[in-house]
Symmetry: none
Subunit: 193 residues, 2 copies
């Protein structure tokens, strides 16, 4: 490695091995040989061989062709088969944009054809209200208070919430979140297109 000015192979634990296994599994289940599948997918047999051995990092186009040829959704080759248990303690996790003293960590982001969801935690202190400009048309936010109290909802007419309370409001209007107690925490589900 040394001081070469080049290449840093993307740190993350990329699922190359998992892809290799999934590929082989799906192919064998279909009763296809490497040659068969390679021909169907329009990729070289040698490429397929290397992918199944986990010794290469396929491009999206290549994987896509293989998934199509196998008749499985792309995600079947990529998503880990048994979703592991994931725990995120209060305060841990990727902390996205801080505005004032307000910040949040994304717990779950999922999208399906037509709809996407973000689930995140909002932690805020009094004196740092979070006023949000309207989001994309059709966005709806769902808020469940965890700890503390807050005024939340449409900017003109917020609702006071305590632990366990729930409010949903159209987020394509100006809206607000104003903590009333220290250490106020809430769970936000943002639903958009």
């Amino acid at each position: 490695m040394t001081d070469g000015p080049n290449k840093t192979p993307a740190q993350s634990g990329a699922p190359i091995a998992a892809i290799a296994a999934a590929l082989r599994q799906h192919r064998q289940r279909s009763g296809l040989s490497m040659g068969d599948l390679a021909a169907r997918a329009g990729v070289a047999k040698s490429t397929l061989s290397q992918l199944e051995s986990g010794s290469a990092n396929p491009s999206v186009e290549t994987l896509w062709s293989l998934a199509t040829a196998l008749g499985v959704p792309f995600s079947a080759l990529v998503d880990p088969p048994a979703p592991a248990v994931r725990v995120l303690r209060a305060g841990e996790g990727p902390t996205l944009a801080a505005e004032g003293a307000t910040f949040s960590a994304t717990l779950l982001a999922a999208s399906a054809p037509g709809v996407s969801f973000d689930v995140y935690r909002v932690v805020a202190e009094p004196g740092h209200p979070r006023n949000s400009e309207p989001h994309a048309t059709g966005t709806v936010e769902h808020l469940v208070m965890a700890t503390g109290r807050a005024l939340a909802g449409i900017a003109d007419d917020p609702v006071e919430l305590g632990p366990g309370d729930y409010v949903a409001y159209p987020a394509d209007l100006p809206h607000t979140f104003r903590p009333l107690e220290p250490g106020t925490t809430a769970v936000m589900v943002s639903q958009y297109r």
Copy 2:
């Protein structure tokens, strides 16, 4: 080009353009600049630029790093966007069964072709553990504790959670929710096909 014996760029309509759009959309939603995201993901800013412009075919490792850095599942960058959603407001729709002293109220149920979400509140008292049989394959449950403490997760190996803590687990295995304090409340997001 002529008759060179090389390269056939994988026939299929690969989702490069869709990836470009999804990448940009998720990045901007997170309030990150290209530089920020590139740094987090450990990829070159220039690479990210080219991907968002749809002028390159990323490797799985690269896309994976970006998805991780964005806190979104890999498939969110790959699955195409599309139309039509059905939404049921709080109070409407199915109210999920009460079992023992445990009960729940559906806050939001949304489904789209391929994926469905239920968001509901779980309120439970100690002494009424809720053990659930496996749900449909591929179901994942996300739990955020609001008030109180509970043991939750895979039946064999639950995790203790306090206010603000989060756990996700495959719900196609036996799983459990055991309140440890009176008035324990949690927000549950159930994600299934």
